[in-house]
Symmetry: C2
Subunit: 323 residues, 2 copies
């Protein structure tokens, strides 16, 4: 049995707890949290303080780090990789090389194994970009996200003065996707690829005009997109917009000889983004433990891991059942 | 530069010749064929007899074997793996374990590396079944093929007495695919998943009734399917049905907690099946040479190969550009 610890218990940590139950070769050792353990309502797992983690070193094969990329993971992953094999979902794109280097050094010095930036993007989408671009080098990759809730954009809405609560959906332009799949060559701008739809609860309805203007002109987040804004009540937001669906498509359109068109499409439709991400983390936790057993120490990403390491089946079974 | 030899020059071999030109780190050493080299019309590559292959041992990094699975590859792959790193597209499902064992032994004894059963199914579809099943163990995988030409079924038609020529299309039931993607749980029979459409040229039109009966009742090939048969002229067959499009979908529908539905879909739409298969072989040829340089000798399948080995970019570039 692979003995797993969960570090941090938000939506992702809860998803990991649920995913471990679906994997018969895994057992949860405990949930380690900054909150007072007795206040944490788990789904059966025992909660401990962060301070108790060190003392359980011999009971844990791998720690799944479920904190955020902004402030938790940049320090937590290197810190815990001193003692444990670790997995994280670090997704601040520009800082991945730096994070990788830091974790790699700690892991090599301490003979541990860490897989960073796991999940679906970065993660499974990265894998699919790599496979598609390697197979059809004469081609173009486009990634479309959604329909799904973007936490970053929802947070940006909630920071606006006069906004009580808000949810933002990223919506892919399916017309563009179909045109690309049909072999059309398009010059795509940011505005062409995605729409943004906002559901906003106001403190005072009289602010609606000002707030709508503020949203659609917000640089980086909304100004480059066609954005629709709906003002709704908190009750409606709670009832209809608190689920966390997401998904997206990696579309690679290439040509082989002359103009022979070949299309590779990888698509996810997720009713729960955190639960799916958690499932990816758990599969890579298995790979992490197997790599560590083979003394393959250091930092890795999904691009470095042979697919078979994700499965609990033997190589013989995989060849027989999946090829 | 990676120096590549092509062994066998049918549609697949020609596709490999074309794909090598799209990869700037590769060069074609030669095309080795059982035919008289002077009779082979290549697209620029030099043709040699099979006998000349041995003498070029020091000029070749990897041999891409482009023969058929029925009679060529079961003997060719073990034979050439004595001297060379090799790639094949062996696709007789039931015999893959035996083929793997044979090639593995030769490769380990002779310190060579071989990647067998490469292509899209087996190959990329196998990979996607493995990733999806590892991430969502509580789920179900369905593979749909087409719309595309099945060589095996077309051959079966051509063996019927009174048939001059024929092409068979495998057509996926898109209605079923959409239902599965929408989260429906279906008990699917063979007949539900695919249709078969046949275009047949007759020696004598008066045989049409007998031949239609013979086709739709043919065990293994057509009896379990809804099959449509069209009788057409050789001229029409040549004009409209000699392209080799194919494709398909690996659809994995799973649940995480309780009944939260998650859908993973991998879809190929190929205007040329042999050229796409060739492109997969060429990407894995790169992986093969890199594994051999690391002295990782023996037989491998796509399931054993870390994705990064397929790319000509460095690990740093891949992390920066794809994660």
């Amino acid at each position: 049995m692979i003995k797993v610890a969960i570090i941090g218990y938000g939506n992702l940590g809860r998803g990991v707890e649920r995913a471990i139950k679906q994997n018969q070769d895994m057992v949860l050792v405990g949930i380690f949290t900054r909150r007072a353990p007795e206040t944490v309502e788990t789904e059966g797992g025992q909660a401990f303080t962060m301070d108790q983690l060190k003392s359980k070193k011999n009971e844990i094969d791998v720690c799944i780090l479920c904190g955020g990329s902004a402030t938790d993971l940049p320090t937590q992953t290197p810190e815990w990789t001193h003692l444990f094999n670790t997995i994280d979902s670090f997704d601040t794109h520009a800082k991945i090389p730096e994070h990788f280097a830091k974790v790699d050094q700690v892991a090599k010095e301490n003979q541990t194994t860490s897989i960073i930036s796991t999940g679906w993007d970065p993660g499974l989408f990265s894998l699919n970009r790599l496979y598609a671009q390697s197979i059809l080098p004469d081609g173009e990759t486009n990634t479309f996200w959604g329909k799904g809730v973007s936490q970053g954009h929802s947070d940006a809405l909630r920071r606006i003065d006069g906004v009580v609560d808000a949810v933002q959906y990223t919506i892919p332009n399916n017309e563009v996707i179909e045109k690309l799949k049909a072999g059309e060559t398009l010059q795509l701008t940011t505005r062409d690829k995605h729409f943004r739809e906002c559901f906003v609860v106001l403190e005072d309805e009289r602010d609606s005009q000002r707030i709508r203007e503020e949203i659609i002109s917000m640089p980086n987040y909304f100004a480059d997109y066609d954005t629709e804004v709906h003002f709704i009540s908190q009750a409606e937001l709670n009832q209809n917009h608190k689920a966390m669906p997401h998904g997206g498509t990696v579309l690679h359109t290439g040509t082989t000889h002359e103009n022979t068109k070949q299309v590779i499409e990888y698509k996810l439709q997720l009713e729960s983004n955190p639960e799916f991400t958690a499932s990816v983390l758990v599969a890579y936790a298995r790979a992490c433990v197997r790599l560590a057993k083979e003394k393959q120490f250091g930092a890795y990403t999904v691009l470095d891991i042979a697919p078979k390491y994700l499965s609990d089946r033997t190589d013989e079974e995989l060849r027989k059942e999946l090829l």
